[in-house]
Subunit: 213 residues, 2 copies
DNA sequence: GACTGTGAATACCTTCACAGCA
DNA sequence: TGCTGTGAAGGTATTCACAGTC
């Protein structure tokens, strides 16, 4: 469903923009790999970039500016995107701040919560609305991306409302599987799952150490 | 570096615990696939589970209880883990709540921030300390997992402090590449990167629609 | 000399197909 | 019959090796 190159392309985009900000104008595939902490090989980088067209100069490296532009284009970062946040607790709040501060192409266009004491308050000029009004407000605001930041129990209902309002891309922070039939892409960010990867690795390393001793 | 089966195993673990809570005692690979919204095939599930040992009964399915135990063991969820949170803004706060509420094996054992008005305040009995004191406090508290929830500019310094205090697993929410030489596993959760995957997909779908029209 | 671009080789992961059991 | 467990097949992503270019 999703090409594994895309997250890499985004990583390049980010690293290159940092280089750009630092005043660099060209970079080699090796240099980029170093910026990324050698989590990606230079060969991989060249393969990925070559699929975007031949943007490098043999013997020289890549010109950063056109590369950043090309990557932004492929990643869909040339449009503006309007984001609806569902759930405005600490997490929702953090995400709203994060999204707007980092990537100017993303605008928070609607915020929803269920708690009476949160509804009606405003954040950056956006009034928090009741979840039951989602369909109407999401459509009026023209949101095309939804972020689920509610507890697991409320996630499915929230996602359905987003989908029926026409949102086709959802970032889900609730630790539950969303069941949607519509053509919606869902990215799950499962904190506990990520923690498990760490704990698995830690125990695996410990076991290896003991076996060696 | 990390086996792609691990996130799946965690997904099984989660779904099975839900089944357990619902009073079920056995499940088939098909049933589990359905719980997961068919994001994983039943064949894949059987392959994964068979690597843990032959836990199923042919013709019957799997007994849930031993399976959950086995999965917890493989994932390292049998120990208790002590987590240090670096950065206690909205995000750090959200993560602290999330981690403790969800998985009883994870205890927040130390919290750090740089802002004077946050240092000294307490959360669930844990006093927020200055980042400069990290080495000592992390070691005293016996933290084995660190969570980076500070802005990108401060992430590298925080991670280095964690690593030098002996933390070997870091969950990084800052949108930057951490450069650590020690044997530390880092999982990056890059919100903007995830958003890019969505925007790429949305633009790709739009392009396909237009081509068809 | 240095670095890109890419066909070929490899390694990896997933799916298929079916044997084995209750 | 129903479902697991698994060798074999298939597909996909990564790495290698080197030709091509500045």
């Amino acid at each position: 469903m999703i090409d594994p190159a895309i997250p890499r392309l985004y990583a390049y985009h980010r690293a290159l923009r940092e280089s750009q900000a630092a005043g660099k104008t060209t970079i080699t595939s090796h240099g980029l790999a170093a910026l990324l902490g050698h989590t990606i090989t230079s060969t991989q980088i060249r393969k990925d970039l070559s699929t975007l067209g031949a943007l490098g100069r043999r013997g020289q490296g890549y010109a950063i500016n056109p590369l950043v532009e090309q990557l932004a284009w492929v990643l869909g970062l040339e449009h503006d995107w309007r984001v609806a946040i569902v759930g405005f607790g600490y997490l929702g709040h953090a995400l709203a701040t994060f999204i707007t501060s980092r990537e100017s192409r993303f605008k928070i266009a609607a915020i929803f919560d269920r708690a009476a004491d949160v509804i009606g308050t405003a954040w950056q000029g956006i009034v928090v609305s009741d979840i039951t009004e989602m369909e109407r407000i999401v459509q009026d605001a023209g949101c095309n991306i939804g972020v689920i930041a509610v507890p697991a129990a409320a996630a499915q209902a929230g996602a359905q409302r987003l989908a029926s309002a026409g949102v086709r891309a959802i970032l889900n922070f609730a630790p539950t599987t969303l069941h949607l039939r519509a053509p919606v892409i869902v990215r799950n960010i499962d904190l506990a799952g990520e923690m498990s990867i760490l704990t698995h690795w830690l125990t695996a390393v410990d076991a290896a150490d003991e076996a060696q001793a």
